[in-house]
Symmetry: C2
Subunit: 301 residues, 2 copies
């Protein structure tokens, strides 16, 4: 029973005919090199925990003010020495300043803004959305922009980043405009799409979700740690641009405006791997995770 259900993903059909659509593995193997993109140094956060590294891609198109503030906070070392404060099972892992609410003890925000306007949605009009034709109960329109899962309402003209697994948002208090990006959370369970349009989403974890999702759950209210000793310390958070080039993670991301992307979605809808006896013929926005892979070595000059 070791070759369990996901084994299917590893088993290609040995003699695929033209009539049989490719498997997920085959789609990825056959993808042209330029269907992948490098990390953007200005839009990638590198968070170092003792256990490992978390890479977060920022979404300036959707939350320009928050992303700019987050860049400032990272450049000024705001999160260095702060901690993961909250892990609520099937919900979120959240990090920031344990003393944020105690003015005398709170870590100064430096040159970053303490309060920003809410960035819950942007205009749908003009957005380069790769639509997902599959129905979604939460929103009339879904799809991908810049590799991020997006939902939209054509009636109101709004589009927003969807709260899928691994998405990163900016915690806020009761006021709509009480977030500044200093306290962030990542989704670690079934996608809480009911949060959409209620909070500013700033990006997604590209690599290292394990380090955020496998942490002990907090036992105080809302999953906060009851005891400060249970918190996980943050060694440092840097913008990738500030990491020496030789130390940058060699990762690339599949372009959602490539031809590989719709082929990958189709391979997930119609499963050709031998293990599957039933194909869902459907994919959900939050199950359609955009893949990353180790960057191909540069050709010799």
């Amino acid at each position: 029973m070791r070759n369990q259900f996901a084994a299917a993903c590893l088993i290609g059909l040995s003699l695929p005919s033209l009539a049989v659509p490719p498997t997920v593995a085959q789609v990825l193997e056959r993808s042209p090199a330029n269907d992948w993109r490098a990390l953007d140094p200005q839009n990638t956060l590198v968070m170092n925990l003792a256990a490992g590294q978390v890479l977060i891609e920022l979404a300036p198109r959707f939350a320009p003010r928050h992303v700019a503030n987050i860049r400032t906070l990272a450049r000024e070392g705001y999160w260095d020495g702060l901690a993961i404060l909250r892990v609520q099972d099937n919900y979120v892992t959240q990090w920031g300043d344990p003393d944020a609410e105690v003015p005398a003890k709170a870590k100064p925000l430096g040159t970053a803004s303490a309060r920003l306007p809410a960035e819950f949605s942007i205009p749908l009009k003009g957005l380069p959305l790769q639509p997902l034709p599959d129905p979604d109960g939460w929103a009339q329109v879904t799809g991908f922009v810049d590799g991020f899962p997006v939902a939209a309402n054509p009636k109101t003209g709004q589009a927003w980043l969807a709260h899928c697994y691994g998405m990163v948002g900016a915690g806020r208090d009761m006021a709509r405009d009480s977030s500044n990006g200093a306290e962030l959370y990542a989704v670690i369970g079934q996608s809480p799409r009911g949060l959409d349009l209620n909070i500013t989403v700033v990006g997604r974890v590209l690599q290292g979700m394990s380090w955020l999702a496998a942490l002990p759950r907090g036992t105080a209210e809302m999953g906060f740690y009851a005891d400060a000793a249970q918190r996980t310390g943050i060694q440092r958070v840097r913008l990738l641009a500030d990491v020496p080039e030789a130390e940058r993670p060699a990762l690339e991301v599949l372009r959602t405006d490539s031809t590989t992307w719709p082929a990958l979605l189709q391979a997930r809808r119609v499963r050709q791997e031998g293990w599957f006896v039933h194909s869902p013929r459907h994919i959900n926005l939050c199950n359609a995770t955009v893949p990353t892979r180790p960057r191909s070595p540069m050709p010799p000059r």
Copy 2:
């Protein structure tokens, strides 16, 4: 920023009028005692790990042969001393016999069956389904039966347990009928509904998901642990009926055939808590987790 977004769940409106629907907290507070049910000792597994206890409710209506086999395996101590073998991020935690595939070393299954027919679906006809009116992309019909999330296809007449967060299934090999319930997995991420109708689902975790979801992820293929030392040992797994009454967990489960259940779903669709500025007016099958609570003390005789 400590009173973050989920704080809303804890804040009731102080003066609810008849025109304003209640909050989630209010619906639960006002629920009559008989809208809750006790654990069924014949259909509850108690798994003891060093870190804590996991309670699993079995679904004999959906997988009668597997559930009967699992009862036999528990009664005969099959899992005692075995281990959690695989934790794949955003997918599953899986446990069983590390040596299951080595006939000379595999732990004997005792009087349990080594192979059972697949129990991927049951007839929709006659099923006491509490339908969920909200659209679901994966299935034409969704709802709840005996507290479990269920999807169905009226055209084929099939109904099945949906792969939501916390659901427990029986691992299988390539053959449809290669599962026996000895190797089990629990869903620990975004619901992998694409597995529906491909594998036998046997129940759901009622309590203790934290102990399964917060484990270190395995680094070998498919999230198996590369090193046996990384596995988490299982102290014992018993049927609740075999646990002395005084030691049984005092937990009760909301009945999905109660009037509280649809009221709770409505409170999740239309958020009256002060934090929310937008209501989704939708709930998804896998976000509509059925609540449990500590059992009310018995009235004095």
